[in-house]
């Protein structure tokens, strides 16, 4: 095949050469994966901290507080429901990526809106759960176990909130300019990562006694 033919193929795959990189992966996508890898270590640290302190609410010298621990107040059926909501949002996210790959903008917007709404519902569930804990007298500074719990689940909640903001921005942008499938895919990567972290938190924090 001639060089001209190569160029033509490249233009078909990567219009305007915006994604031509030495790795064959666009900078945006690689950047997102590198960010997710660093986030893995962050969440790994938070989960480890929770594991160390979860049953030692008042054993740290000079930091002794209440002996209440978060697991005393877990509502597993409710948290299972919010986990199901987040799992469902991952499905709607991949459906939106598939839709934009087919060039179906309407369905992409529909699935992205569904993902943002489900993310909002998850956040609402988390706010309700935190409020219940506070009503039971378990706050961020009650003891080290509660601090570790609120820091971990709160950080995850912040990630979900940022994801919802990105989804809403993406929907708004889709009305104003031409969409690249990869933009949806990269935000999808972030959203699935948030889901994966919740898979770990739900099992390690809520289900393992």
């Amino acid at each position: 095949m001639s060089d001209l033919a190569y160029e033509e193929v490249e233009d078909l795959e990567f219009p305007d050469d915006v994604h031509a990189t030495s790795t064959g992966i666009s900078n945006e996508k690689l950047g997102m994966w590198v960010y997710l890898a660093s986030d893995c270590l962050l969440f790994g640290g938070m989960i480890s901290t929770y594991l160390i302190y979860k049953n030692r609410p008042a054993e740290v010298a000079n930091l002794a507080g209440s002996h209440h621990i978060p697991s005393d107040y877990f509502d597993i059926p409710f948290t299972s429901m919010t986990s199901f909501i987040l799992l469902m949002s991952s499905l709607t996210m991949v459906l939106s990526v598939n839709a934009i790959m087919r060039g179906d903008l309407t369905r992409m917007r529909l699935w992205l809106t569904a993902t943002a709404v489900l993310g909002g519902l998850f956040l609402g569930g988390q706010v309700y759960e935190f409020t219940e804990f506070l009503h039971h007298g378990l706050g961020f500074t009650t003891n080290v176990a509660s601090s570790a719990f609120f820091a971990l689940t709160g950080l995850h909640g912040v990630h979900v909130a940022v994801g919802v903001i990105m989804l809403v921005s993406l929907i708004a942008l889709s009305f104003r300019r031409k969409m690249h499938a990869e933009a949806v895919e990269v935000i999808g990567l972030y959203w699935h990562f948030v889901d994966i972290v919740w898979v770990l938190i739900f099992t390690i924090v809520y289900l393992i006694p």
Partner: protein, 147 residues
């Protein structure tokens, strides 16, 4: 001049190793989703295993939960995050990061004596209580409880 996209796609000198598989269809994503739902339901059911099957089931609940968690983790990473269909470079980076994180935090938890004593009442080996900092530095007799 002919242009054969399929032929050039994966072996391109410009984009080596980049795979352009379109991944699962909508229907396949729904199947994966329902598998995840069933696995989650199984995980949640362990909460009531002691009521249904007795105290002995507690011992197997934790390994079962960890296995189910790992399966769910890989289902989301490989299919929803497209890792199975993406460039091998991303796959290698992901596995490298995962193994590194497990090693780093495994060592950290070991250093914190987590495996012998997780603070749970089921472990009869509580960590030693350090003396109050004031007593370590105090030179005045009668100021520490030991005096």
């Amino acid at each position: 001049m002919t242009t054969d996209i399929t032929e050039v796609d994966d072996d391109s000198a410009v984009h080596p190793g980049e795979h352009h598989s379109h991944g699962p269809t909508d229907g396949q994503y729904f199947t994966i989703f329902w598998v995840l739902v069933v696995l989650t339901a199984l995980e949640v059911s362990t909460e009531w295993w002691t009521d249904w099957f007795g105290e002995g089931s507690r011992k197997i609940a934790v390994p079962v939960l960890i296995i189910l968690m790992v399966i769910k983790f890989f289902l989301v990473a490989l299919y929803f995050m497209h890792l199975k269909f993406d460039s091998p470079l991303l796959k290698r980076s992901f596995y490298f990061g995962m193994i590194l994180a497990i090693a780093v935090y495994g060592i950290a938890l070991t250093a914190m004596n987590f495996w012998e004593d997780s603070g749970s009442t089921r472990f009869n080996n509580p960590p030693p209580v350090p003396p109050p900092p004031f007593c370590e530095t105090s030179q005045m007799p009668g100021e520490c409880p030991a005096d």
